[in-house]
Amino acid sequence: MSAHAQLLIVLLPLLAAPLAALMRTPDAAWALATAIAWSVLSLALLLLLQVQAEGVLSYAIGGWAAPWGIEYRLDPLGALLQLLLAAVAAAILPWTRQSAARELERARLPGFYAALLLLQAGLLGIVATGDAFNVFVFLEISSLSTYALIAMGRDRRALTAAFRYLILGTLGATFYLIGVGLLYALTGTLNMADLAARLPAVADTRTAHTAVVFVTVGLGLKLAMFPLHAWLPNAYAYAPSAVTALLAATATKVALYVLVRFVWTIFGAEFAFGAIPLAALLGVLAVLGMLIASAVAVRQDEVKRLLAWSSVAQIGYALAGLALASGAGLAAALLHLANHGLMKGALFLALGNIAWRFGNTRLSTLRGLGRAMPWTMAAFVAGGLSLVGVPLTVGFVSKWALLQAALAAGAWWLVGAIALASLLALAYVWRVVEVAYFEASESRDLRCEAPLGLLLPTWLLVLANLWLGIDTRWTLGLAEAAARALAGAGL
């Protein structure tokens, strides 16, 4: 059975979703979803060991060989992403039961869990596949389920946010489709490895350049790259808490994974960074994104939107790492992907606890919560410190790696940007901490901590945040292995 693990990791959630939809009671659907999430996690670990042992795994679906049939390829980068997706989902799903029960009507819960499973299947499918068009199909599965999930938020603005995300997301996917179409027209194949082999021959044509631009713009929309991020703040702010946590920790990361896959595997570093000034373009957008998004985040008074803007900024960090066009930069970007997933997961779960108790997460609601909900706020502070990049946290590890890569590449503009952005991060995290701990509020002196069911997963992610900040064998080791596999050149 382990030979088929590569496929089962996607198939399990995909086929479990219809089952979940058929379930009558919400708890049965939740139990199925959590069981699937945990089995996916075990599969992801199994696959990781296999990849480390045998190198790139390949699985021809339908028995047809690579360029003709669809092929699943898994390399260290894919294994790292799948592990992140599985781990975050496995932590968030147990948390979802009580949070969703309170935020959504009972009748819709089985459907809600089915959509969550579809979202996870879509994301895992994108990471697992080695076929460019298959990425589009699974991208659509995850996007459609995301639109539906966001629109289930209580606030009516969730609907407009979902609609705007639908329009922009579909535009992005269609741009990606055009890019892949142009590549197909030039090379005649859709399999990524095959594409990478045949592209250099036609690399200097104008069509190839346009294809790169369209794929980058398309993915930029899905990735919420700086100028194309309009949909993200509202979408994360008004979606149900569980959905925001899952999306923040995984969705944009997968889009960035596809961009890395295209830039490094298919186009190859020399072509992508040589022919078109992709490095300069990404670098400028990343720095702009980091600074402006952080600046906006400081002024938000709804904490979920604040964290959503901070997500846009953090994606800027990862893009900046990518824009360094060096092995070290790539490793730093991948490391930040994984770390940011953990950080945001913990933070949004903490917010979910507050939303569970008070129904909203405005800054005024947080007044005096330091005493009222000590464990939740402690988790939030730990996540916030990790966001700022204080030592002994995961954020510091990725900041350190980014600084190293930037200095090695002599990118002074990036060092300054990172310093400034982390100061802004400090500003908006501290704004929340100050309100929570130092502003006393008369109405809320009683202790009303969230129930254990919500607290345990939150603290699980927070502990992961701290533990991986000290023992970085897992995250740093994997990211470097992935970068070495992709970049080939020495770190």
Binding site: H4, L7, L11, L14, L15, A17, P18, L19, A21, L22, Y59, A60, I61, G62, G63, W64, P67, W68, G69, I70, E105, A107, R108, G111, F112, A114, A115, L118, A121, G125, F133, N134, V137, F138, E140, I141, L144, S145, Y147, A148, A151, M152, I178, L182, Y184, A185, L186, T187, G188, T189, L190, D194, R198, V202, T205, R206, T207, A208, T210, V213
Partner: protein
């Protein structure tokens, strides 16, 4: 084609826009026929012209017919559009000319489908063989997309207790209804028959799971329009649809798992039958059935949901 598209964008009256969009889909189906894409033309006509127009009509009933005059500056979108267009045109210069047999597209992957699919899978319609077997996983993903859409729409506007009988949309003039009633009584069985034909003829000529599913659904949608949602619900209750839609996906996935258990890779139909080619036949048949199930039940479910929501307003 271009003129219809431009007019669709220009017009203020959304009803006209929807109708023109239907016409546009039909025209594009014709164009696909010219470009030898028969299956695609069939699907575009059935899905593009048929279902999306019905759904848009429902949405229009809910949201009013006319569009306010645009107040925002028009030059910015124009600029963006022209820039993208120019980039695309600039990009096409190095593309091989349309229709030339020497294009790389025809050299690399496609020839094998054309030459070997007859022997390996044994069905004349190469598109169906590629769709169901070579790239069967894409189609599974696509069925999942249809299911997701159905699920998403149900999550958004489903689960409503219908208050009062849902008046049929076109029931404005009762006597006019008589002709419609008689004609539709005659038409529906024919459509159903044609749908089944398309389903099983998919291997020989143009057709297949999607088209058949939509046609079967459209038969019942006609019934829904003419006789009102309540009568149609007696024939095909909504709960049945909500069971059939996931079932289709499971059937498709299950066929793949069966291939897995019998020793092949996932979605490998060879071990299913006694002979490899026989296995392919059986596999494709089952898979197409699964697709038809999901597509038909989802399309009908969509119409039920929209009808119920519109009637409630």
């Amino acid at each position: 084609m271009l003129v219809t598209a431009l007019f669709v964008v220009r017009t203020r009256d959304l009803l006209a826009a929807t109708m023109l969009l239907g016409a546009y889909s039909l025209l594009s189906a014709g164009m696909f026929m010219v470009l030898d894409a028969v299956d695609v033309a069939f699907t575009e006509a059935a899905v593009g012209a048929g279902v999306s127009t019905i759904l848009m009509l429902y949405a229009l009933v809910a949201s009013g017919r006319f569009e306010r005059t645009p107040t925002r500056p028009q030059w910015l979108p124009l600029l963006v559009v022209l820039a993208t267009g120019a980039a695309l045109v600039w990009g096409t210069f190095d593309l091989p000319p349309v229709g030339a047999p020497g294009n790389p597209v025809h050299q690399h992957v496609a020839p094998r489908y054309l030459q070997q699919s007859g022997a390996e899978i044994g069905i004349p319609n190469v598109v169906t063989s590629v769709l169901a077997s070579y790239r069967g996983y894409d189609t599974l993903g696509e069925t999942a997309v249809v299911f997701t859409a159905g699920l998403g729409v149900w999550l958004l506007i489903g689960g409503l207790q219908r208050r009062g009988a849902a008046a049929p949309v076109l029931a404005s003039a009762p006597h006019a209804n008589l002709i419609l009633r008689v004609v539709s009584k005659f038409l529906i069985p024919v459509i159903l028959l044609f749908g089944l034909y398309v389903q099983f003829h998919g291997e020989l000529g143009p057709g297949g799971g999607f088209q058949a599913g939509v046609i079967l659904a459209s038969a019942l949608i006609v019934h829904l329009q003419v006789f009102g949602a309540d009568q149609t619900r007696q024939i095909v209750p909504e709960s049945l649809l909500r069971v059939l839609a996931p079932l289709g996906v499971l059937l498709y996935g299950g066929t793949g798992v069966a291939g897995l258990l019998l020793g092949g890779n996932y979605l490998d139909y060879h071990p299913l039958g006694r002979t490899p080619v026989g296995g392919q036949h059986l596999g494709i048949l089952l898979v197409e059935l699964g697709v038809a199930l999901t597509v038909s039940s989802t399309m009908l479910l969509l119409c039920y949901l929209f009808a119920a929501r519109v009637a409630r307003r």
